[in-house]
């Protein structure tokens, strides 16, 4: 550690000023863009009121990358885009070019690096995912692995625009849902199915009892004593295996290789286009963890995607398609079984029942 005694440590500089990283064409046309055109699933052009154009070439990334990966990108940027590039909000890379003639050579070099070109328009977008077994202590499944297995299988859906609309898939390794799971077209969520195991000594030494009790969504954690000291007990019938107690109290681990796994969700949406934003809804309550490639999970996602591709109208998002054909038909087409788990029995669940005689027969 450098010796900082005597000198004032510099802090609170905040994020770097973005102006320093903007392509000159972008600087000159900032706020003046007139329209864009998607030229292929891997590149588009934005045209300014001034007539200037900027080309964006989009490349897929696994998000968890090495320094060498970044250096590869930098080399390409230096070669073709004046050193300018950006990342998207879904972890794709975008090279920003002002020269049309650089597009093809850039794409060729990208192919040589075995990186995917695509992600624009009606594709399966890059999967927004989380840490999983790579870095997080509460993961019920692995993020990078499931994402890789899915994207390998859906590769053509990323590179070619074959779908009625863009499909946004998300993965989160636990119910904290660090990302987009609660509002995605298709989502995979790591889940536990057994209550926390109580480690009374840890609880006594490391946990705040009131906040542990408050952490439970179903009020399943109750005060108790252990060796005369405050502790907790669990009403197992009420536990929904959410893991929030473990977040605040390391003495309540939930991991259970036999019962952990994932659930699959569909029909969420963030944009305000046409229909209001909406949550993802439960499609498949449980599939076991089956590393390294989680074949059943991949199959379930493919089932949804195929049904959607065959059934949806142009421009219809997954959730909009399901709302149009109705949930009974969705379960019927996909073959997923509808169970009591699908009926929302949580706080606002009442609002989700069918209060009408509108029923397809």
């Amino acid at each position: 550690m450098p010796d900082v005694s005597g000198t004032k440590r510099i802090t609170d500089v905040g994020p770097h000023d973005y102006h320093d990283f903007l392509h000159p064409v972008i600087k000159n046309n900032y706020g003046k863009w007139k329209y864009h055109e998607i030229l292929s699933p891997a590149h588009m052009v934005h045209v300014s009121e001034t007539g200037d154009k900027i080309y964006s070439v989009r490349v897929g990334s696994p998000r968890l990358v090495s320094g060498s990966f970044i250096r590869d990108l930098c080399d390409l940027a230096d070669k073709y885009s004046g050193g300018y590039l950006r990342f998207t909000t879904r972890n794709n890379v975008e090279f920003l070019l002002d020269k049309e003639e650089n597009i093809e050579p850039l794409m060729n070099d990208i192919k040589k690096l075995n990186l995917p070109l695509g992600g624009i328009g009606n594709v399966v977008a890059n999967i927004v995912h989380t840490q999983g077994w790579i870095h997080c202590h509460t993961a019920a499944s692995d993020a990078s692995g499931v994402t890789k297995a899915l994207m390998d299988d859906l590769y053509e859906y990323y590179t070619d625009a074959k779908l009625p609309a863009k499909v946004r898939i998300a993965f989160a390794c636990c119910l904290n849902m660090c990302g987009a799971v609660h509002c995605s077209d298709i989502a995979v969520l790591g889940i536990h199915r057994r209550p926390p195991k109580l480690l009374p000594d840890k609880i006594m030494n490391l946990c705040e009892i009131p906040s542990t009790i408050a952490s439970c969504p179903t009020n399943a954690i109750r005060p108790d004593t252990y060796n005369g000291k405050p502790s907790v007990k669990i009403i197992e019938e009420a536990c929904v295996f959410c893991g929030n107690c473990f977040t605040v109290c390391s003495g309540m681990p939930l991991s259970d290789p036999l019962n952990d796994g994932v659930s699959i969700w569909v029909g969420g949406k963030v944009s305000n286009a046409r229909t209001k934003p909406s949550f993802s809804k439960l499609a498949v309550p449980y599939l076991e963890n089956d590393p390294p490639r989680w074949p059943k999970v991949v199959e379930a996602v493919k089932t949804i995607l195929d049904a959607y591709k065959n059934g949806a109208e142009k421009g219809e998002r997954v959730g909009e398609w399901i709302e149009r054909i109705g949930w009974p038909k969705f379960f019927n087409i996909t073959g997923f079984k509808f169970t009591k788990y699908h009926i929302d029995d949580f706080r606002l669940g009442e609002a989700t029942m069918n209060y009408s005689a509108q029923v397809r027969q």
Binding site: H36, H46, L64, L85, T89, I134, Y155, A214, P292
Partner: protein, 401 residues
């Protein structure tokens, strides 16, 4: 360098067309010793179907309460390289724009002082350097600061705000999201680095209703561009689109407020009824553009499910004239945020996000406290039950309360 651990399961994931994170870890392992043990531990997780990390605990840089996520292996003897494997969150530049120079500077730091593994980017928006030992934290921080980067947020603090590409490369942007994001982040550095809140607080800035930052689902405070005047129509271009698309079915028919119609005389929009959903503009970007009186709808409260279920953000300010306020350094907006935080500080409890608090105390009371009027734009419909807590009444002596 030869591999320390056999990883038959992970090796499976080096196959396939999508770029492999396993390959990336191996490439990182070429740069950094500790990373080899990551492969070993993750392989063991794949075999056993469970993770091997412990809670984080007290890890950080001096003076800051956030920006570092501590992480320790629960198999430190077996995998000493990942005994300490913290993550450093670095506040990304607005819009995720970089030059090759600056990116190389960042990975120079991580390749030398950490595992050579990164997330570009974390779900909140930060650049993340994975695999940092406690002893390296200060060095990394100092080096980042030296070329003008700072840590992002973690813990019960303001989290790293993020924004869409906005005016930099998008014709739909109704305000300067990148600038606002930068300005607000700079203004609230103290709240970001020194946790003083009940829980995390996130901002996300999207230039229009397409909401390419997913702000309405993932930010306590969602800032979404909109406009006050009319959609700009190029009728000739509309005709061009009409040759390719059934406008009745795919454009006017999908308008949520049914405020559009199309016939030989052209496209008509009753803009007073347009809810700025962006759909028609999305389908015909060469023919339609948002109006010129851009502004912002401010929404509040979205978050992940813990503890009371997932939330989307709800309308708080239907139209905020951000262009005007930008001239004053977004002072009105900052004051509003100040009032929200004050209320949260006063009435919230630990680990209660602001959306949950407002629900608990009642939106009416919250609005009164922060000095905003209740407006019908805030609801999808007024109440459907009669349990109204009337506050006005008349006394027997005729006095009104």
């Amino acid at each position: 360098m030869s591999k320390k651990h056999q990883t038959p399961l992970l090796d499976e994931l080096k196959k396939g067309k999508w770029p492999s994170f396993v390959t990336e870890i191996e490439r990182a392992a070429e740069k950094s010793e500790m990373t080899d043990d990551l492969l070993g531990q993750v392989e063991q997780s794949y075999k056993e179907k469970m993770g091997h990390w412990k809670h984080g605990g007290m890890v950080g840089v001096k003076g800051y309460g956030g920006g570092i996520v501590g992480r320790f292996s629960d198999l430190p003897e077996k995998y000493p390289g990942v005994k300490e494997f913290h993550t450093v969150r670095i506040n990304q530049p607005s819009g995720f724009f970089y030059t090759s120079d600056i990116l190389r500077k960042i990975v120079d730091v991580g390749d030398k002082h950490a595992s050579s593994l990164y997330n570009f980017h974390g779900s909140t928006g930060d650049i993340q350097i994975l695999g940092v030992k406690t002893s390296e934290l200060e060095t990394i921080f100092q080096q980042l600061v030296s070329f003008g980067f700072d840590l992002g947020g973690s813990g019960s603090a303001l989290r790293t705000p993020s924004c869409c590409v906005g005016m930099a490369r998008c014709e739909f942007a109704n305000y300067d999201a990148m600038n606002m994001c930068y300005n607000i982040t700079q203004a609230f550095q103290d709240e970001m680095h020194r946790p003083i809140f009940n829980y995390k607080f996130k901002f996300k800035f999207s230039g229009c209703g397409n909401d390419c930052t997913a702000s309405i689902a993932r930010a306590d405070l969602s800032v979404i561009g909109t406009w006050k005047d009319n959609i700009r129509i190029d009728q000739d271009m509309v005709k061009e689109y009409a040759k390719k698309i059934n406008l009745h079915k795919y454009v006017t028919g999908k308008c949520p407020t049914k405020c559009m119609s199309y016939d030989e005389t052209g496209l008509k929009i009753d803009d007073s009824n347009c809810s700025k959903c962006m759909h028609c503009i999305n389908v015909m970007p060469k023919a339609l553009r948002p109006g010129v009186k851009g502004g912002v709808t401010i929404l509040l409260g979205s978050k992940a499910p813990m503890v009371s279920g997932p939330r989307l953000s709800m309308v708080l300010v239907p139209f905020y004239d951000v262009a005007e306020d930008a001239k004053n350094g977004y002072q009105w907006f900052k004051d509003l945020i100040g009032k929200i935080w004050e209320f949260w500080d006063e009435y919230g409890v630990s680990r209660e996000r602001v959306g949950e608090l407002i629900q608990r105390v009642g939106i009416g009371n919250f609005l009164e406290a922060i000095g905003l009027e209740p407006l019908p734009e805030m609801v999808s419909s007024p109440r459907g039950n009669p349990f109204v807590l009337y506050e006005e009444y008349v006394e027997a002596d005729g006095e009104k309360n």
